[in-house]
Structure formats: structure tokens, C-alpha cells
Symmetry: C2
Subunit: 229 residues, 2 copies
């Protein structure tokens, strides 16, 4: 849209490119295989630095008492997150390097699952590349998608990154400990999330001090149990 | 990499895909055209919510006294940022909708420039899609790349998103007002940036209260004047 100095006129310039090759069939195949194996795949997405790794460590430490868990950490480079998850939880963790790619697709996810140690997993958690755009475009074959939005990012993000919130089954609003220092309206944020996705369940958490983590773990447990029925 | 419970073993699984089609030639063409017109194109990149729009508004309000400026706001959806920039600065601003795409390439950028009002610009600023991954992979035809990393995102981001820091001529560390509330080591962050790019100039700013903005504006002015020589 164009605004000239006196804000009178609007122009929208569409710069669409052709869509990425669909990987939906591969994702459905993977989902079918997971169903047969009884393995729930949770795909976790967010911007860089919104607290995926910290939140997951705490959630895993609750759920690992009842479930056999495997974790796949996707990153462009480094193994910081895999080291963190592994040392904080002790569960099977592999690092997936995407070779510069901004997301994982179903094929890459299947490759990752095949690379996990060969045993039964009740729950495999995929921590996707930190990116609020591309990971939402590629179905990984997951059973459920979780998205984290942190307070410093702003309550308007669901308006600017629609697809991420449309494809997420539930959203964690993280870093609520720093609410006093940012212009972030929790109610407005929830409204923006629900504008994109009326079905999304929303949790307020602080991964750092553990607030809200127990509720999220119970919610995931319920997702797994409902899916098994 | 795989860490099993006792951290003894490491496995790296590469899941590379074929690289995106090169758009380098188009970018070089655009750069040549910009040179002939005397228009400096600045490409601004960061994660969602790191403060691009706020920082740019303040920088533009300093530079607009001496330069004719145009702004292109790239977003997947919404026109929040274009409205903000336009109302805070009064300069020519257009909103580019990428139709779901996670980045701008040189062709899209050229399309945007053609859509700006037909007059001479000394400086065109492209606010790229909020994304620390993909925009770095596509040369937009810009003369310089600026990246913003904000304190809440963490000082380890240059390790995890290498290319962004490799292609950026200068980096702003934003939101230094909230340093007391986050585990963020400014010196460590600078070291991580320089590990990726020894040539990068680094500024500490707070876009909200204006700290450091004057220095960044002067730096950009110098870039423009040096390029004109």
C-alpha cells in the first residue's frame, strides 16, 4: 500500500511467486506410519529466541516420567540446542542440520525420525528452525503443531504472520515475566491469535521460571491420549 | 548430532536440499541501475519483533532533512508497518505484499522500486520480511545490508543464523533498555557477530528511547556519501 505524506491513497503491490512444491502426500504417509507405530509427533515452531528450547526442556522433564521421548533439534548450524536439551532432560536428542534451509519438510522429518535410535517412542518432538514464516508452509507430518510467541516480539505478530497461527493447534505466550517492560497487551494478543485461528488453545507461560509449564504438559498428555483412542 | 543419555556420541544428519535458483544477475542489474540513478538501496533485515520499524522511523526522521527518501515495507500480510512509518515520518511509503513468501528477491525488489512514485530518491529503504533466515539468502540488489538483533532474542543468534550475519554490513543490537531483565552478554554477542563477519560494524541502540540512533544515521549518511564518490 502506498501512503503519501497526507495518507490519502492506498496501493497494494502483490509480488507473489509460484508456490513451493507440495509435500502433502509425503506428510500424510508419514502420519500414517506414525499412527501404526503409536508415535505422536509434535512440531514446535517460533521466531528465533522466543524460548522453544527452554520451554521444551521443562515440558519434557514432566512428560518423560510416562512417555518414551525422542527430540529432533533442527538448526541451520550449531548444536547449541541439542546439547541443552540433552543435558537438561537426558532423553534421546539428535541435531538436524538443514544445510541453510529455513524449514523442515516431511521428507526431512522422516529422515530425522529414521536417524533416531531404533526403539519405540511414544512422543517425538521436532523443534523446527527458528522462523515464523516458512516452517508453517510445510506440513512435516506432525500430529500437532505448537507455536511459541514471546512478549518482546509484540502482540501484533499474528496479524503479520498469519499462516503460522492458522496451522498451530496451540500457542504458548512466553516470557510473561517481562510484561512490565514491554508494550504487550495479552488480551489483544489472544484476540489476534483467535482472529487467525478460532480453534487455537492459548497458554501464558514463563519458560524461565516454569509458570504455566505444568498446564501445557497436561494438555499435551491429553492430546496424546485422545489421539491414541 | 545425537547425544544419548550419557552424552558420549555425536551424529550429524545433513538434510540439504538443492539451492534456490540464483538471482544474482538480476541483483547486479538492479545495482547498476541504482548506481546510474544515484539511489542508495538499504536492505533491512531481522527476526519478527526486533524493532525494525521503530528504529527506521527514527533514523528516517534524521536523514530526511538531507535526503529524498522512499520506503518499501515488505510483509506477508497486513499494512501495520507501512502505516506506522508513513505517519511517523511522512516519507513515501509503499507496502509490498509477498503473497506468503518469506523473503524478497531482486525481481520483487525491482518491482517495488518501480511502484514508488516516479521521482528521484537519494535513499530507498527496504524493510524485508521479519525472518532471520531466508532474506539473507537472496541478494535484493541492495547497496548495503543492515541487520537488527534485539536483546530478548539472545546473544547466541549469530551462531545459529550464520548467513544473516555474514551478509550484513552492519548490525544494530536493539532494546538495550531491557538488558537488566535478560541473560544477554553484549560483549559475547559482539564476539559472536564478529565470528561470522569480522568486517561488520556494530551499534548498541534503543529504538524506543532513541539511544544510539543519531550514530546509526550518521553512519548511513557516510555510507551514502562514500558510495557516491
Amino acid at each position: 500500500m502506498l501512503y503519501n505524506g497526507n495518507m490519502e491513497e492506498i496501493r497494494i503491490i502483490e509480488v507473489k511467486q509460484s508456490v513451493f512444491a507440495a509435500n502433502d502426500r509425503k506428510a500424510d504417509e508419514l502420519r500414517q506410519q506414525l499412527k501404526e507405530k503409536g508415535t505422536f509427533l509434535l512440531n514446535v515452531m517460533s521466531s528465533p529466541g522466543s524460548g522453544k528450547t527452554t520451554a521444551l526442556s521443562k515440558i519434557i522433564n514432566i512428560l518423560k516420567k510416562d512417555y518414551q521421548i525422542g527430540v529432533m533439534e533442527a538448526d541451520i548450524d550449531s548444536d547449541v540446542d541439542a546439547r541443552t536439551i540433552s543435558s537438561l532432560t537426558g532423553v534421546e536428542t539428535i541435531q538436524l542440520h538443514t544445510g541453510g534451509m529455513c524449514h523442515l519438510d516431511a521428507g526431512m522429518t522422516a529422515q530425522g525420525i529414521d536417524s533416531l535410535e531404533d526403539k519405540h517412542y511414544d512422543l517425538i518432538i521436532l523443534e523446527n528452525v527458528g522462523n515464523l514464516v516458512c516452517p508453517a508452509e510445510f506440513d512435516t507430518g506432525s500430529i500437532a503443531n505448537m507455536c511459541i510467541l514471546s512478549v518482546p516480539e509484540g502482540d501484533d505478530k499474528p496479524l503479520k504472520y498469519p499462516l503460522m497461527f492458522e496451522v498451530s493447534n496451540f500457542v504458548l505466550i512466553n516470557k510473561i515475566d517481562v510484561l512490565p517492560y514491554f508494550d504487550f497487551d495479552v488480551d489483544k494478543c489472544k484476540e489476534n491469535i483467535r482472529y487467525r485461528n478460532g480453534m487455537a488453545d492459548i497458554f501464558e507461560i514463563c519458560a524461565k521460571d516454569g509458570r504455566g509449564i505444568e498446564e501445557v504438559a497436561e494438555y499435551i498428555r491429553k492430546l496424546i491420549e485422545d489421539w491414541r483412542k
